[in-house]
Symmetry: C2
Subunit: 239 residues, 2 copies
């Protein structure tokens, strides 16, 4: 790792200088960066070096290029990880199925492991209960119409994790959802017949969290993964 | 997310073409990619487009450029995530301290949540027990000499998680370790006086896993984070 970092650093000196400039000027995500011309002058490097560095930093979501508006400090999201993970899933010997299984396993682990914290904070009123209730209602309605509800589902989980105050955990959950959402269509897995159980179990997770009941929350988490896990198992044995 | 992905895709068409070529030619990590000239011809794009795309893909660890040897399919590791997380830590309002706290919280969560799987597989002989024992011995010796043992510690955790067969979980643990290792020196936190407890607790984790005792394993996990968590808490109250 040390070696890899060292070689990356040698490769991207201008990128490192730009990162340093973000720090010394105390810029925050969303702040405008100096123009390309100003950066060339300040850092004493060529325009093509600045452009190359900016592309590297944009790939890492450390900067965000808004065409016609300028370059801004980026959100430093986990999007780069999502892109690599999705592609790795497609590449892996057992294909996307294995990637999805791994993602679901880690999601279950995080949901159960952070249950106490989620319930404690939600019970203390730190979650947006109204927005979460609206998302549950939307999922139940869609399930009853036989529609999928991946977006509402992702929003529910990230909003609930936002209450933990652990931004890394919140973003990881969002990132795993993105891998999940990208991989599902590649697998052509039919929507589980019992997907309504998943929709309803979200409501049970929310009620348990609001009531401060960690054990009921954990049971609802497990129930909520049931339809997906059964359909993955069926699919795996079919292939 | 959908919009962001769409704009990323528009931005990086040549990168997508190269990803597609990796798939259609069934290339695997470590395989050699066609030369720049061949790619220009195959994809019908300019040399500068190929170079730009390769830089983006290298940043994501989807390809790896070995100077003088050619470009290979990369390991698709979580290194890009580590880079963004470390930088975000440095940037965040409360600095690296907050980032480290978040990383440790997620590490504890993953260790406890995957305890059953780790213990089951280790008990079944799927972990490299000799290598793990040697790492424990190294950590204890270093602790007794008052030295730090971050590398042996990282190796212990990734080796233990390798037994789960969940490569995502294994890589996540490695990635969080890298964030951890990068952020610690920035914080100038003194090594905990009771760091020997951490070294010894690794041995207890291993013994419990080999014996198939999940509860003892969980207790050892908690004990093993003790010195770090106490030193983080002391540091947070001092600042």
């Amino acid at each position: 790792m040390a070696d890899r970092n060292a070689s990356r650093m040698r490769r991207s000196t201008t990128a490192d200088q730009i990162k340093q400039l973000i720090l010394t000027r105390d810029l925050k995500p969303g702040d405008l960066l100096p123009t390309e011309a100003e950066l060339c002058e300040t850092l004493g490097v060529s325009r093509s070096s600045v452009r190359e560095a900016m592309r590297t930093l944009a790939t890492l979501d450390i900067v965000e290029v808004r065409y016609g508006h300028g370059t801004f400090v980026g959100g430093m999201s986990l999007d780069p990880m999502v892109e690599a993970l999705v592609f790795r899933g497609v590449l892996s010997p057992d294909g996307s199925m294995e990637a999805l299984r791994e993602v679901v396993e880690v999601r279950v682990a995080l949901d159960l492991a952070l249950a106490e914290l989620v319930v404690e904070r939600t019970h203390a009123g730190e979650a947006d209960a109204d927005a979460l209730r609206a998302l549950v209602a939307e999922m139940v309605q869609r399930a009853e119409r036989g529609e999928s509800f991946l977006e509402a589902d992702r929003a529910f989980h990230t909003k609930l994790f936002a209450a933990t105050g652990n931004r890394l955990a919140e973003q990881l959950v969002g990132a795993f959802w993105d891998v999940h959402t990208a991989v599902i269509p590649l697998l052509e897995i039919p929507m589980p017949d019992d997907i309504r159980q998943t929709a309803v179990a979200h409501g049970e997770m929310l009620d348990a969290a609001l009531a401060g009941d960690v054990e009921a929350y954990r049971r609802a988490v497990v129930a909520h993964y049931g339809p997906l896990q059964r359909s993955l198992a069926a699919e795996a044995s079919r292939r």
